[in-house]
């Protein structure tokens, strides 16, 4: 098994390995719990390593194409046909970027789960669904086929909904899961209807082939509206956000960290549809303004609704909505400017900021949810008024929380600062108001986290809790994300040049996306 073989087949392997392991997990679970944990960890680490190898190759300039079931995986168009018929996986800079996020957070969440769900029943099924979530995310990121996108979207929603309801003995968990699932299924059906509209006109399901012949007729516009509505709903942009706090709050903390990434995968799908499928054919000014306004609304309303919350995870969920706004703002400004002369100067910077923020958000928000889970593990409550003085016994958790809070508030030298600065300085050129709102939201975010830190970690120790830190596996899960935050914060220039820039370039360059599959 040499390196080239691995690289060629890695897009398919990255989906196949966790998928097969997911259904192997319940069987191994029957034999031995320890063997099951080892299997899950080995799979997660393998996915992470293969993902890094693949991403490195993609970032150095090779877009990977994989045709499912073909004797030669790079031959997308069969000999007898003129269009791509088989399912094509296309891994370009942005797909690899999102894949890295999913693999990293899943690894941290998997490690964290080992101790976190130790006392629960049905762990075999928990890990099955966790791996299926990873499959759904990677599938949505890699696929170049619209119907395939729908299938992986549904795999992701079903696995997530079942995991949100994992603590089914608590009524609120099932309630949150039901709400999430109604929204997800509605969104997925809208996506399927839009795919039907496109297929009815062009007889194509491949995204690159569709993009080449896209005419932007009335039906295409309806399909675009359905896509944008569905994916904006799934990524929790205000005014379609009501499921986010409910489901994030009740899910186990490790799953909440994964749900954050799952929402961002929907964001990825939204960007992919706008940039790669429709591209310059659509009315970029109008759609850009719509996405920018969605972003501004999410930013501002999200953070103001976070301020009065007393439930620590609910508060963080509203912050997750607010941070999603930054990504929508950054990439929305990019879409607004694409095709105009300003794009090459500050349009690209705005997109880089928005895309960089996706990775940063996954790291620090994942870390914050994991620390909230650690607090819940220790004191059995999420209510901020019922906890105090936790820094006495949970020193490491307190440090991780501080790092996460500084990162989300955009304080240097942590990673949130790097991406927010890119967004501030580029959207300022479009309109200073955008920058001002973004900075204001950042300040309110800091205020809100100061409040959480004060009420959870400061003050005299609580009397009736056990001494000591949370178990090691939970700490290791948090360490992985913390190391990411610090590294990204210390070397933002290197990260932007080598990881974020290829991703933004892949999104902006529709012609390259089409050429990789169809050629010419």
């Amino acid at each position: 098994m040499n390196m080239n073989w691995l690289l060629t087949h890695s897009p398919a392997l990255l989906i196949a390995i966790p998928l097969l392991a997911a259904f192997l997990t319940p069987l191994i679970d029957r034999l031995s719990k320890r063997a099951r944990n080892v299997l899950v960890l080995i799979v997660l680490i393998t996915v992470e390593v293969v993902m890094i190898v693949l991403a490195w190759d993609v970032f150095t300039g090779n877009t990977h194409i994989y045709t499912m079931g073909a004797s030669n995986p790079t031959a997308t168009i069969p000999v007898q046909a003129a269009i791509p018929i088989r399912i094509v996986l296309e891994v370009d800079g942005l797909s690899a970027f999102m894949g890295l996020i999913s693999a990293t957070v899943s690894l941290a969440a998997g490690l964290y789960s080992l101790a976190f769900v130790r006392r629960e029943t049905g762990q075999g099924r928990y890990y099955t669904l966790l791996l299926l979530m990873l499959v759904g995310m990677l599938g949505m990121e890699f696929t170049g086929d619209l119907f395939n996108l729908f299938v992986f979207l549904e795999i992701l929603s079903i696995a997530s909904a079942a995991l949100i309801a994992y603590r089914f003995y608590r009524g609120d968990a099932v309630e949150g899961a039901f709400k999430y699932f109604v929204i997800s299924s509605l969104g997925a059906l809208m996506v399927l209807f839009a795919i039907g509209l496109l297929y009815g006109q062009y007889d194509l399901l491949n995204m690159a082939a569709l993009a080449k012949v896209m005419k932007y007729t009335m039906l295409d516009k309806i399909a675009l509206v359905l896509f944008i509505a569905a994916f904006a709903m799934k990524c929790g942009a205000i005014p379609m956000h009501m499921w986010v706090p409910d489901s994030y709050t009740v899910a186990p903390a490790s799953i909440t960290a994964m749900l954050v990434v799952a929402s961002q995968v929907s964001l990825y799908a939204l960007f992919r549809i706008c940039f790669s499928l429709y591209g310059l054919t659509l009315d970029v000014t109008t759609v850009g303004i719509i996405i920018i306004s969605l972003g501004l609304l999410s930013m501002f309303v999200g953070v103001t609704m976070a301020l009065p919350q007393k439930d620590i995870k609910r508060l963080m969920s509203y912050h997750a909505i607010s941070q999603t706004g930054y990504m929508l703002l950054g990439v929305g400004v990019g879409l607004y400017l694409i095709g105009k002369p300003e794009f090459s100067t500050y349009g690209v910077v705005a997109m880089e900021g928005g895309i960089f923020h996706i990775f940063n958000h996954a790291l620090y928000k994942g870390l914050l949810f994991l620390t909230a889970g650690a607090i819940f593990y220790k004191v059995k409550t999420r209510n901020l008024n019922e906890m105090r003085g936790l820094a006495h016994s949970m020193k490491f958790t307190a440090i991780f929380f501080m790092i996460g809070a500084f990162a989300i508030a955009g304080i240097p030298p942590f990673n949130g600062f790097a991406s927010k600065l890119l967004i501030y300085e580029s959207v300022y050129c479009v309109s200073p108001i955008l920058s001002i709102i973004a900075m204001l939201v950042s300040i309110i975010t800091l205020a809100s986290f100061v409040k959480v830190f004060h009420s959870a970690f400061m003050g005299p120790p609580m009397r009736n809790t056990k001494e000591g830190e949370v178990p090691k596996s939970m700490l290791i899960g948090m360490v992985i994300l913390t190391v990411g935050i610090i590294l990204f914060g210390l070397f933002p220039g290197w990260v932007v040049d080598h990881i974020v820039h290829p991703a933004a370039q892949a999104l902006a360059d529709q012609a390259a996306y089409i050429q990789a599959v169809i050629g010419g």
């Binding site: 009524g171 609120d172 699932f181 299924s185 039907g196 009815g200």
Partner: protein
């Protein structure tokens, strides 16, 4: 006109389903609403591939080469399978919610919104 009837039915089904999801308070009825929307979307896909006086797309001993489009049928089959999984999971959530709250009325199930 006659060829448009399936599309009109599609729109009607989707509107009825959406109205059910939005206005009904009973969780089971919400699940039914989603299933109705899904039927509408499936009917839409099937209608896209229909050709008049054509045969099933099986080439062996085919009486004519005028065939319906097989791709939408494959899509619909996949979508039906996914739909069953979605419905089963939703109904099991509804059962759990009924066990906890003793009701299926969404107005009374609001422990999350304190």
């Amino acid at each position: 006109m006659i060829y448009n009837i399936p599309f009109i039915v599609v729109v009607l089904l989707i509107i009825v389903g959406l109205a059910t999801v939005v206005f009904k308070r009973n969780l089971i009825k919400i699940v039914i609403g989603i299933t109705i929307i899904e039927s509408g979307v499936n009917l839409f896909l099937i209608t896209l591939g229909y050709r008049e006086n054509s045969v099933a797309p099986i080439y062996t001993f085919a009486p004519s080469t005028k065939m319906v489009l097989p791709v939408p049928q494959a899509l619909t089959l996949t979508s039906i399978v996914i739909g069953v999984a979605v419905m089963a999971l939703m109904l099991s959530f509804a059962i759990r919610i009924y066990q906890h709250y003793g009701t299926l009325d969404s107005r009374k199930i609001r422990r999350l919104r304190e």
